[in-house]
């Protein structure tokens, strides 16, 4: 990370020594600490003034104070203290600003990773490390409730804690791990892949990252609130959610912060991809990862406001005594589910399409072959985007929706299997006759394809209305969602982290440990989640701390396997930490890949490219001698090689 000074000496002025006054008033953690308190006080004051003025009793209504002061004002104070708004505040106040001020840009030392940083590469790493923290936290919660579920009856936790653990586990995994982990990898890679110096809106990018820890700690800290953490599942159905203990609003508001972060990043991706592609990088020359994030960003921008709305409605029912979902006062209970799933089904694709992109990059590079049917691969992403908005009621086949809605929604849900199938078959055709290097990223990518096929097929059962009526809200659904989100999303996240680890850190990971990690995960995953299909079909509902004794043996097996699965993560963390500190120095292009991010040093220079690359061809020209993707610094980038005859094919 010394590359900053070498490439752009002019942008880094020596900093004057700081005085005590500076420490308190300049952007940073000290200012963040006192501004958090100050804004909390302002929030409290606002509530008291309005309640006092209106004469409402009690004056100190802690539900309202929690929402306004703790969950809204204090985080804004934290962000302001950290300096996320400094530039805009100065600009709005008419103070002099330096548009080309790069003092907040780049990672020179570890401290640069703990402040709002405008370098997409720093932000990418901030995202990935933060999301892994929440992944581990949510994983530990899963271990805890699996311990409770190992035997029928109640052993370790009470019902409230159990429901809280299940709910926070899911909420963290979805909103603080899978979605932002993809945003982090995309953040790091997309500008490099399209030949851009950074994202279109670097300060917005910095802000969108810092919203994330706020959302995460909000959800974690809900365990400390009287009454316990939110305990209504990540789906948080009304009206149950409207009269739960106070922890529930930590979910309602946590989703707002995570959702805002998601929307800002998606807008940034869209503008970056549309306006900042290098010369010659037409849409049909973009790597599929860029296509995937383009599609995902459209989904995020269109759908995420719906979950924000649904959570606001639930919170308003509690705090402002509105009646959106209060049937006794004319509220419409199913309205919640319609709005919620109008986001949360597309969210499944938000959690999957970037993984499709990663799989495409890894499979093509490691099989040394062009992506089979590149255009159909891109078009199938767009087909999923459009169809994804027409299937939400398949989560509601037993919910009491209008009966006529079910068959049309079943048909669209079935049809969405077609573009998904196209992608799977295209990956298989890409691998076919390739020269496959079975290293860790490739193992995870192929592991993803095989597990995702199982998850996709169990999805067909759930789309078929009569079967869904039997298995809805059972462990069959738990098995399905984990085959899709663990076997699907998480495997691609691991593939992506191993694949780009050399680029991000400048060091190689340990291949042997990587493979051990893969096999432990692959086996542990299947032993944990495959039996859940059986348990669910036989009659075990989900989200229960206690269950019928006949499911005891399989639950015991599942729990033991899940502990093994948890242990496999230790291998991953050890490999990442040790390799980051002491791994062998990585070359610029260890995989001999053709896409642009591999044509610069590892890690890349602070503004990515010394000279704007000129894109001249497809990103996947493996097997064609001399065919190249781009010209960089007047030199051709890595080129394809003509295949040598493969011996096995000829006898």
């Amino acid at each position: 990370m010394t590359a900053v000074a070498e490439h752009h000496p002019s942008v880094v002025a020596p900093r004057p020594p700081k005085t005590a006054r500076d420490y308190i008033l300049k952007a940073g953690w000290i200012r963040a600490a006192w501004m958090t308190c100050l804004f909390w006080g302002i929030g409290l004051g606002l509530v008291l003034i309005f309640r006092g003025w209106a004469g409402w009793e009690p004056l100190f209504d802690w539900a309202v104070i929690t929402v306004v002061a703790t969950l809204t004002a204090a985080p804004i104070g934290f962000l302001a203290g950290l300096g996320a708004f400094d530039y805009w505040v100065r600009y709005a106040a008419g103070a002099p600003t330096v548009p080309e001020d790069h003092s907040t840009h780049g990672g020179r030392n570890w401290k640069d990773y703990f402040r709002p940083n405008t370098d997409h590469k720093v932000i990418g790493i901030q995202y990935v490390v933060t999301t892994i923290f929440f992944f581990v936290a949510a994983g530990l919660m899963a271990m805890l409730f699996r311990a409770e579920l190992a035997r029928p009856g109640m052993q370790f936790v009470d019902n409230q804690t159990f429901n809280g653990l299940v709910s926070v586990h899911a909420a963290l995994m979805i909103f603080l791990f899978v979605i932002p982990a993809f945003a982090g990898l995309g953040n790091y890679v997309i500008p490099l892949m399209i030949g851009a110096p950074d994202m279109a809106f670097p300060r917005l990018n910095a802000l969108s990252f810092w919203l994330l820890p706020i959302a995460g700690f909000m959800m974690l800290l809900s365990f400390l609130v009287p009454g316990g953490a939110f305990a209504t599942g990540w789906t948080s159905y009304a009206p149950l959610a409207t009269d739960q203990p106070l922890g529930q609003v930590f979910f309602n508001m946590g989703v707002q912060w995570a959702g805002a972060s998601s929307i800002m990043t998606a807008l940034n991706f869209l503008v970056t991809i549309i306006t900042m592609r290098a010369p010659g990088m037409t849409f049909w020359r973009m790597p599929l990862l860029v296509w995937a994030n383009f599609t995902t960003s459209l989904l995020v921008v269109i759908a995420t406001p719906f979950i924000a709305g649904s959570q606001f409605f639930v919170m308003f029912d509690r705090v402002m005594h509105t009646n959106f979902f209060n049937a006794a006062e004319g509220g419409y209970v199913l309205g919640y589910q319609h709005i919620f799933w109008f986001y949360s089904h597309p969210a499944v694709y938000i959690m999957m399409l970037p993984g499709f992109g990663i799989a495409s990059e890894v499979i093509s590079t490691m099989a040394r072959k062009p992506i089979f049917g590149y255009r159909l691969m891109a078009l199938s992403l767009m087909a999923i985007l459009v169809l994804g908005f027409s299937v939400w009621a398949h989560h509601m086949f037993v919910a009491g929706v209008a009966p006529w809605l079910r068959i049309p929604m079943m048909v669209t849900s079935m049809i969405i299997a077609v573009p998904t199938g196209i992608k799977v078959f295209s990956w298989l055709a890409t691998v076919w006759e390739g020269r496959i290097h079975f290293n860790t990223p490739m193992l995870f990518a192929l592991g993803f394809v095989s597990m995702f096929v199982i998850g996709g097929l169990s999805g067909i059962y759930l789309a078929a209305v009569p079967i869904d009526i039997h298995v809805s809200d059972t462990y069959f659904v738990v098995a399905h969602i984990h085959y899709v989100l663990f076997g699907g999303s998480l495997f691609t996240i691991f593939a992506g982290i191993y694949y780009w680890f050399p680029k991000m850190t400048g060091r190689m990971y340990n291949e042997r440990l990587g493979r051990i990690h893969f096999w432990l995960t692959f086996i542990g995953f299947n032993v944990t989640f495959f039996p859940m299909h059986w348990v669910g079909l036989q009659g075990m509902p989900r989200r229960v701390a206690d269950y019928a004794p006949e499911f005891g043996n399989w639950n015991f097996v599942i729990s033991i396997a899940s502990f093994g699965l948890g242990a496999s993560t230790v291998v991953f963390l050890y490999n990442m930490i040790v390799s980051w500190r002491r791994g062998p120095i990585a070359p610029g292009n260890p995989w001999r890949a053709l896409t642009l991010e591999w044509q610069v040093s590892s890690p890349p220079p602070v503004f990515n490219f010394d000279e704007v690359p000129q894109v001249v061809g497809s990103p996947y020209e493996y097997g064609t001698r001399g065919a190249r993707h781009a010209v960089l610094n007047g030199k051709p980038t890595e080129t394809g090689k003509a295949p040598e005859p493969l011996e096995v094919m000829h006898h």
Partner: protein, 338 residues
Amino acid sequence: MRRGSILQLVGLGVLFGGLATLVAVLIPWLPPVASKQRDRIDFVFWFTTGICIAVFALVAAVIAYSLLKFRVQPDDDSDGPPIHGHTGVEIVWTAVPAILVTAISVVSSIVLVQNENVPKNHLDVAVTARQFAWTFTYPDQDGLTSAQLRLPVDRTVKLHLRALDVIHSFWVPEFGQKQDAVPGQDTTLVITPTKVGTYPVICTELCGLGHALMRTSAIVMQPAAFQTWLRDQKNAAAAPPAEAGKAVFTSNGCASCHTLEDAGATGTAGPDLDKLPAYAKQAGKPLEDFVRESIVDPNAYVQSGYPKNVMPAFATLPKDQLDSLVDYLVKSSTGGGS
């Protein structure tokens, strides 16, 4: 592709397809069937499974074949053949899955329509769901209520579901039918039991702290036995107050959360009702008033060690039933019993 490699690929496909078929057939994946609807659901299940096994075998065979045949040494830096696509193949793998999922959709639609068909001579039962108990009412039998669902065999029943507080969901795995009970909305579910027996009724929608305990039984009886049961129940309702109180206790599902020795109730989610006199002393109220208040307005005094807002208020209980329930609880907890 050479003929030999095609044969090897087909061999792998047959191997994986065979293994998957064995897993599908040898393991009893579905619980016993006890309704006509489940029979039809099982048909869709196996129809879909057949198609899924074929797709799985294809994918597994290609991956396994690639693993065996196309892997290279790490120092081999040659590329594969520059194949960018094949329009014919791409059309095939778009069209074939589309046809398969259409077939599943058609079969599912037909079964769905059949499963919701209600014959004229059906039985109506009103299902009331509340935290955390089920109540079943037979409108044709002067509103007879029961905490268990009793049904005559081979006669279609139409359940009319209502929820008093939050969303619940009615499911009997052996019947295969499931339906949410939604506040402010009436939903229905059709079941034709085909086998005499006792089956679990399970709430499958997270409804609060007692969700896992919100269970009861569906008892399918011979028509004659069902008629006898109806008659006995009507007689019991007209019995002396103590027994009537016990009937109210049972039919409102109190036993799912509370312990009461006299009624054979062993629930542990809520306070132990055999200790009511002690609780009343702690609350500083006369026993009878305390019991009545706790039923109508449970949050007025919550015994320490138990969470607030869990027990639903039974303020809608008819006056005579409430009186006999209070009477019964006072007597049985002070050792009087019935």
